[in-house]
Symmetry: C2
Subunit: 226 residues, 2 copies
């Protein structure tokens, strides 16, 4: 599949790398191609610069948001939550019409430090805001409830015996995303229903960040035991 | 232990019954003893009236919030979230000083129907509001992330292989509560830290209610796989 991953951070790199390994045709979209390539220092979280990652993935192209989106059948929103609408606007609404989007972003607000709060919650969600802003985009909220390494390689934790969720209004888009998650190794993908159910998964983040503190590691996930 | 369970609904009944079976000296507190005993019809959720439950637990007493609290070493808040501060106020601040409280309530708001939203979230929590209103009460948030039947008998699901959480500022209170949860059969009690971490567990409810809809059953729980 021709896939555009929007966002060059840890999540974008993990998803783009895994998709490329699985044989997909992947372009990463960024706000400024030259600025992204020129960065030589780790980011605020200590992750290596994009160019260091990209050297290991020569088959993955880097392009502007608009160029990446224009060719793709499926888009992945791996930008930060507060920048997602702007990134998709830059990608161009006309180029998004009819396409599938996996929305991984969480609307985290670090303005008051750690732990972050949520920019939107409970009566709305980032997933719904994206769907409302781009009505012809077929948005599926997914993978926003676990760390990047486990999103794309769930089997490295408890042989993959844990759960992920999808929320979306479009049945075909959800089927494509569920197939993709299963190709990553996910064995328990729970379809919560319409995109409004993203309120539930986004509001898990306040527990997730506290668990990361308590467990002193991001290498954990929720399993829905039933 | 002498325990007062505040609230006569499904959660209060489940916790009081289990504590009595384990040999504790249990009183249930209610706003109006006569009104509670006079009810003969099921509640809005279809649960049988208190008197039907109480017939099977003759060793559990029913008393006013104040009478129940005055004798107890440990209190359990099993009232509805929106009524919790009023119930504890009725119990009497002087009678609460120094005592332990397990706060199971969630600040659910059903004003707009289903699914409920949260009356307080993200920058505050019901657990913190109770702690702030009664500074000498030693509040431990716990058991608010699973259905009543599993709170008190976790082994009936996957042999108890799932997780619960505690949040609180008082180390002795948390130790007592963790021991009590383990006596119920819980095998993975995660101490998240201060009472402010209740923001995390209360904000799981929007996912919980959607999972109940998707799974068509409340008999599930979160396991933190790590």
């Amino acid at each position: 599949m021709k896939i555009a991953v929007l966002g060059t951070g840890m999540v974008g790199q993990a998803v783009a790398g895994r998709l490329a390994e699985l044989g997909h045709d992947v372009t990463i979209g960024t706000r400024g191609v030259q600025a992204t390539l020129a960065r030589t220092t780790p980011d605020a979280m200590g992750n290596p610069p994009y160019s260091a990652w990209a050297a290991n993935y020569p088959q993955v192209r880097l392009a502007s948001f608009a160029d990446a989106a224009s060719e793709a059948e499926l888009l992945v929103n791996a930008t930060s939550g507060g920048a997602s609408i702007a990134a998709l606007t830059a990608a161009g609404a006309a180029d998004l019409a009819g396409k599938f989007l996996i929305d991984i972003a969480n609307p985290l607000d670090f303005a008051a430090g750690w732990p972050p709060t949520l920019l939107v919650k409970d009566t709305d969600s980032l997933g719904e805001q994206i769907q409302a802003a781009f009505p012809r985009l077929r948005v599926v909220k997914a993978l926003n409830t676990l760390t990047a390494a486990l999103m794309v390689n769930p089997a490295q934790l408890a042989d993959g015996d844990h759960s992920v969720f999808v929320s979306g209004n479009d049945t075909d888009a959800k089927k494509t995303v569920i197939d993709l998650l299963e190709s990553f190794g996910h064995t328990d993908v729970i379809d919560l229903g319409l995109i409004s159910t993203a309120r539930g998964t986004e509001m898990v983040l306040p527990l997730w960040v506290r668990l990361m503190g308590t467990l002193n590691s991001p290498m954990f996930n929720f399993k829905i035991v039933r």
